[in-house]
């Protein structure tokens, strides 16, 4: 009897300690992808807690579940020790949970004060009209209480990004948030804005708020968090006191392969330089430097991989290589000719192919047929035309050959591409981009989100293409892919190349992780070797 009482008391202590407990959370999406696997997560009152992990580790999903944007497949959530079901964000808000999304949820043409009180606007005595003075007062009072600098009367479209984020945080606080979830809050901020944000977050913590900080930036985490939960592949890799764990240890837990895939390939025999990128710089419209003095070359017959956590300039780089964006300074040449500001068809005429990261937007036209998609880069060829009309026979046979060669599983060549599975959609893209026999192939996350069979097939096709004499630039956030497929490899961090490995065969995950997370970088001489000059 006495023992039982003691056990109960212990439970009480535990419950008081935690504001949030998520137990055994599983999330399986309808397409069968498991984003969270038996995840346990807890928050102590008044702490700043980081959730760390690579893209796709399941950290955003977990927080969306806590904020009611997603429903868990199984598992339970306790807030202040009470089991709760959070079916929608309104419920989460009423439980004192606020979330600041990576993409701001603000109305640009409304003022800062209007955005803060939206949906709960104060009214005048008649109850008909908005009491705008009161709204400004609410905004100012809250800003003063939490020591935020905002301009209540400015329109949101006219204020800088850092202030927009403060408005978002205030929106949550005004609604009574005691638990604040920040999804990669520093991704859009400049260094100064980040410093300011951290000061404010620490002040909020001192006022008793509990803060969850989703990030994969080690230095920031070390700077302001008390504890951290590391996630990888949908599972928790452990909970640690920030002070007790080294950056190297975090990196080892965050980055790594659960299963090592092997790709069989001959040794590369690179010859002349095809792609030459020199001193590429680009600052985005939020004044953030995305590419910083980037220089590298890709040679005929080799696969150069670009590894790195997403958001470190890879996307911007690929955009520049296909003229989807223009660099501020620097040069990009293919076989000695500049491709900056060249129309895409001219770039293709020089033998450049692109397997884009966002296949549904840039890779295919989803309501067009397989046939229309595979000939979209070549329908002007004389062999597909007979006078003013298409040579339908020729187009049919081209498409049928590609369907066979690239093992596209489809009912017929007339099937709409959007009806295919993800893997087969990607095979349509690959079929078009590889069958044009490019001199340079840019493959951006070529196997993301597709099944194992299609993945293996596409990887082998890329290797074969390079051994036939194409230059291949492979951008991938998948460590397995980028290490196994590439002959040599560079790592991007913060818009810069921080490492170059001439030979990938001896690379291990731990070393890669340290470079990818910015703990280490090579000397400029070492990095400059990738220019082959």
């Amino acid at each position: 009897m006495e023992q039982e009482v003691i056990v109960e008391q212990e439970e009480v202590v535990e419950q008081e300690d935690f504001v949030v407990q998520m137990r055994g959370i599983n999330k399986v999406y309808p397409n069968g992808i498991a984003a969270n696997k038996d995840v346990n997560f807890s928050l102590r009152r008044g702490e700043i807690h980081a959730i760390m992990g690579e893209n796709g580790a399941g950290k955003s999903t977990l927080m969306k579940i806590l904020f009611g944007l997603e429903q868990p497949t199984s598992g339970e959530i306790l807030i202040n020790g009470q089991p709760v079901a959070i079916h929608n964000p309104q419920k989460a808000i009423s439980l004192g949970i606020g979330m600041v999304h990576q993409h701001f949820m603000l109305v640009p043409s409304l003022t800062v004060a209007e955005n803060i009180v939206l949906g709960m606007a104060p009214t005048t005595k008649s109850r008909l009209l908005v009491d705008y003075k009161k709204a400004v007062q609410i905004a100012e009072e809250n800003a003063a209480r939490y020591n935020f600098r905002i301009e209540p009367n400015s329109k949101v479209m006219d204020i800088p990004v850092g202030m927009k984020q403060k408005v978002e945080i205030l929106k949550a606080l005004v609604r009574g948030a005691k638990i604040l979830i920040l999804d990669e809050p520093t991704a859009v901020l400049t260094t100064q804005e980040t410093t300011e944000l951290f000061k404010e977050l620490i002040a909020l913590k001192e006022q008793g708020l509990t803060i969850v900080f989703i990030s994969h930036k080690l230095k920031e985490i070390k700077q302001i968090t008390d504890r951290l939960t590391i996630m990888r592949g949908g599972r928790t890799m452990g909970v640690y006191n920030t002070a007790d764990i080294s950056e190297a240890e975090i990196s080892r837990l965050m980055v790594g392969r659960d299963v090592v895939l092997k790709v069989v390939k001959d040794k590369a025999q690179p010859t002349e330089t095809i792609l030459k990128v020199r001193d590429l710089e680009y600052t985005n419209r939020w004044n953030k430097k995305m590419l910083d003095k980037l220089s590298f070359s890709v040679r005929r017959g080799e696969i150069l991989g670009i590894a790195g956590v997403e958001g470190n300039g890879q996307r911007e780089l690929v955009e520049m290589l296909f003229n989807l964006n223009t660099p501020d300074t620097g040069t990009i040449t293919v076989c000695g000719e500049s491709i900056i500001n060249q129309p895409q068809n001219k770039i293709r005429d020089r033998g450049v192919s692109l397997v884009p990261e966002d296949r549904m937007t840039y890779g295919i036209a989803d309501i067009a047929t397989i046939e229309e998609n595979v000939i979209s880069d070549r329908f002007t060829d004389s062999r597909f035309n007979k006078g003013p009309l298409f040579n339908v026979q020729e187009i049919h046979s081209e498409c049928d050959n590609l369907i066979v060669d690239y093992r596209i599983l489809a009912k017929s060549r007339k099937q709409q591409v959007k009806m295919l599975s993800g893997g087969n959609i990607q095979k349509v893209v690959v079929a078009r981009e590889l069958s044009s026999k490019p001199t340079l192939l840019i493959a951006d996350q070529p196997t993301r989100g597709i099944d194992v069979g299609a993945t293996e097939f596409i990887r082998n096709e890329i290797v074969e293409l390079s051994r036939e004499g194409a230059a291949v630039l492979l951008v991938s956030a998948d460590l397995n892919e980028v290490i196994e497929l590439s002959d040599s490899l560079i790592v991007m961090y913060g818009g810069k190349i921080v490492a170059y490995f001439e030979d990938t065969s001896q690379l291990d995950d731990e070393v890669m992780g340290e470079y990818m997370l910015g703990l280490k970088h090579q000397t400029e001489e070492e990095i400059a070797k990738v220019s082959y000059e």
Binding site: I93, P108, V130, R285
Partner: protein, 317 residues
């Protein structure tokens, strides 16, 4: 001839008719403004005007009350707008298709309904007797002001209401919590959802408003302007209202000014076609020509604005 033209423009009769002709366009245009602010394109205004014009006349006749007729037209307008909303928001069809459906219903269905209810074909002229028309009002002091009194006084109740709605819609949009929600929903529905404002509910409210306003426009047409319903009566006013909304940049005051411009063009056509030695075919082009010129000017000013913004953005970098 030019002198004649100028004289005829600057007489009180002509300016009076500009206001009279503008009123129904203004009703529908205010409906377009409030719907558009909530991110809803109500292309069905034309059809709603047609159908509610018919019901306004019929209900007025059945109840022998112009007021009940007008209210009936408003209710019919709201119901039709909610129907478009139901198809668009609930059944997830394209809202343009729902609008087109109502427009076609307005063109064909009204004649059928009229025949079904009254056995008449084409118009209800005989039903809408003088005492069932929307009454006109003389404004006590204003009417005695020379010139101005003759232009502004003596309009129908609904004409004044149309101009009153410009102010009312402005108040709703910019001074009430509902307006705040409407603007938020139209601009960033995700932002509205994230803080618990129901996008669907707000859009239903906005489209209901636009239906009510188009209903008033319809009642104005059949129960005052044409003194009875006929099949060719609305004659594109619902679409002109959409153009007025676009040209007025979606703001109540700007939309009123562009509605007045369209009203002016139509009044001018009526006036000039009555003159001798002028080709009536050529004259009938005037309202549409004004529309095109107006839209071109609008496009130019939008382009300039965009350019300025780009320059400003460049400067900020």
């Amino acid at each position: 001839m030019i002198g004649d033209l100028l004289l005829s423009i600057f007489n009180t009769d002509f300016l009076f008719s500009v206001i009279r002709i503008t009123a129904p366009i203004l009703f529908a245009a205010m409906g377009a403004v409030i719907a558009e602010k909530a991110g809803v394109v109500n292309i069905g205004l034309e059809g709603i005007m047609m159908i509610s014009a018919l019901f306004g006349a019929l209900i007025g006749y059945w109840t022998q009350s112009w007021l009940v007729g007008v209210l009936g037209a408003v209710v019919v307008g709201i119901l039709l707008a909610l129907l478009i909303g139901f198809f668009a928001f609930k059944m997830k069809t394209d809202i343009i298709l729902g609008g087109i459906a109502v427009n076609m219903l307005g063109a064909g269905g009204t004649i059928f309904l009229l025949y079904m209810f009254t056995g008449m074909k084409g118009n209800t002229g005989a039903l809408v007797t003088r005492d069932l028309l929307i009454p006109t009002v003389n404004i006590p002091l204003v009417q005695s002001i020379p010139f101005l009194g003759q232009v502004l006084s003596g309009h129908s109740v609904l004409t004044y209401l149309a101009f009153l709605f410009v102010w009312l819609i402005w108040v709703i949009l910019y001074k009430t919590p509902l307006g705040l929600n409407i603007r938020a929903v139209g601009e960033n529905p995700n932002a509205a959802t994230s803080i618990g404002v129901s996008v669907e509910k707000i859009q239903y409210i906005a489209i209901a408003f636009s239906g009510a306003l188009a209903g008033l426009g319809g009642a104005f047409m059949s129960m005052y302007y044409s003194q009875g319903w006929n099949s060719g009566m609305v004659a594109g006013r619902g679409f002109i209202a959409l153009a007025a909304q676009a040209m007025g940049r979606g703001e109540p005051l700007g939309t009123m000014l562009s509605s007045l411009l369209f009203g002016f063009a139509q009044a001018l056509r009526t006036k000039v076609s009555g003159m001798q030695g002028v080709s009536s075919y050529l004259v009938s082009v005037i309202p549409y020509l004004v529309t095109i010129i107006g839209l071109v000017l609008y496009a130019i000013s939008t382009m300039n604005k965009l350019k300025k913004r780009q320059v400003a953005a460049k400067g900020a970098e």
